[in-house]
Subunit: 312 residues, 2 copies
């Protein structure tokens, strides 16, 4: 079979609720956002694989697939399906989001790569496949950690409830508007997870109960969001924020932004988005205030998940 | 019987853990602190009652007991036992603590007044009486609210676990060192309690679970403190802080101080002390840092509860 040229894309994502607890059987709510990762795949006659992005260049072969830190998720996705390929290809990767802000760029690039590789073989990539394979690849690259919630959002689009064990996805009929502030620093997610595990060792039963409470708040939040009750959703986000603080993943910079957002009359609730100890804070609603003294982003939920189309 | 001149005193107090949940059946940990309220009682031949303090002067009679905002707790205590008195008296009230910092000055002045009134009649005030009568008076003056935890600390001294419904008090064998920072503003406790009640109405089952979790953390903290495991106590204070945030009683100023304290190598944990939305933040340990940009207090737990002695 001859490869065809395709363009694939997948949205970035934002965790709305349920971080950490999602790794222990609880549901999470995650949103695809209108910042997409786009990948153009051009077939080659030889077995060379060339990757281009704003982060750099990498050239290897289907046989070697030499590692490269900047392209570890893309290379992980290629490795997962290289048995299907006789021809090499070039991938031109363009990101609509900062990879520093923790907006699910790893999941988006993994899903977009899988979609491009499927599309190049003239297959329509099934969402179930993208979610399952994408989650497996990300966990492998990250040394075992990763809920897959961001992969689910990049795959399906929209705002959705996600269970990690079953990879069950339920979409919300209506998506909220969000305001995102970047705290200016980042602790890598696997490090934050290790810190929470360390805290959990001191008080395992309390942590079980904390995580069950987060799960309970997420279920109630999903029901509130399903009836577009944004006031109730905001209140539940605020409760979830306190529970994340209890897990030990809040800090002074994040707390300051969380409370600054709650001062805004258009914001119904606010919390850390993602694993914590850095990255972003999300407010429910489109804030009135424009200048926050930190990078900010008015984010719309992107209803479109992963897409692939043939290039002429 | 002729009254005798006495001097009574009672320590102020600091809530260490369990605020709000203590009003719903959960235990709290409260500490008497080495800032005392002292009251000298001088008998009079007539039925006049004169009160002096740094807050002002008030003159009334045993028959009138005219209200006065500055002396409402003292007048509440006198009203509770005025049937025992044929003679009036003067009370000279001296406070070793700021009444703005929420260090249990209302409870301390109530307990000290009850102790002085008992001592003037040559009775040794029983702790059970001071706790029961003090709690009743404070709740009456405050329109129903008040756990009595501060009354228990003012009565018994030391660091203790307290249940509001049973007024059960269990002392800790060893008391921790504490650092207290004043946030610069105050919301009256009854107002904060009303805000929590309003939040609770939106999510009653979640609030039940939050408060049960606070109670669980307090029980574990008491066990940790009983074996002088300050690291574990600090960790549990941090968890309790997150749960208070989830109740909705944290704010930007308090959060900033909570995180500033945790940066100090001598502080094992930190949280809001008292009902929240203002007042103080308490750190477990004697902080290394001296200047916090806000009023600070190195506090020792006072092992002595309410005292009364005859004056010559």
């Amino acid at each position: 079979m001859t490869l065809r040229a395709v363009k694939a894309s997948a949205p970035g994502s934002l965790m709305l609720m349920g971080e950490h607890a999602v790794l222990r059987g609880q549901p999470a709510i995650v949103c695809a956002i209108n910042k997409r990762m786009t990948i153009a795949l051009t077939p080659r006659a030889d077995r060379t694989v060339r990757l281009h992005s704003a982060l750099g260049e990498h050239e290897t072969t289907l046989d070697d697939l030499a590692p490269n830190e900047s392209f570890r998720f893309v290379l992980g996705a290629i490795r997962a399906c290289r048995a299907d390929f006789q021809q090499g290809f070039e991938l031109d990767i363009r990101s609509g989001m900062s990879h520093q802000m923790g907006l699910g760029s790893s999941a988006a690039v993994t899903v977009a790569t899988l979609a491009a590789l499927a599309g190049a073989q003239d297959k329509e990539p099934a969402p179930g496949y993208l979610l399952e394979a994408g989650t497996r690849i990300i966990r492998k690259v990250q040394g075992g950690t990763g809920s897959g919630a961001d992969v689910a959002a990049s795959t399906y689009g929209g705002a959705l409830r996600f269970h990690a064990a079953s990879l069950e996805v339920v979409k919300l009929p209506k998506a909220p508007q969000l305001t995102v502030l970047y705290s200016g620093s980042k602790t890598p997610t696997p490090e934050v997870i290790a810190i929470v595990e360390e805290n959990r060792k001191q008080q395992p039963e309390l942590f079980d109960r904390l995580e069950a409470l987060i799960g309970d708040a997420v279920q109630r939040a999903f029901a509130a969001a399903a009836r577009a009750d944004w006031l109730a959703l905001g209140e539940l986000m605020n409760i979830n924020q306190g529970l994340m603080d209890a897990l030990g993943v809040n800090n002074a910079a994040l707390a300051a932004l969380v409370y600054a957002l709650r001062e805004d009359p258009h914001i119904h609730g606010s919390k850390i988005s993602g694993s914590g100890l850095g990255d972003c804070v999300v407010g429910l609603g489109k804030a009135m205030r424009r200048d926050w003294g930190v990078p900010s982003l008015a984010v719309k939920v992107d209803p479109l998940g992963a897409r692939v189309e043939a290039l002429p």
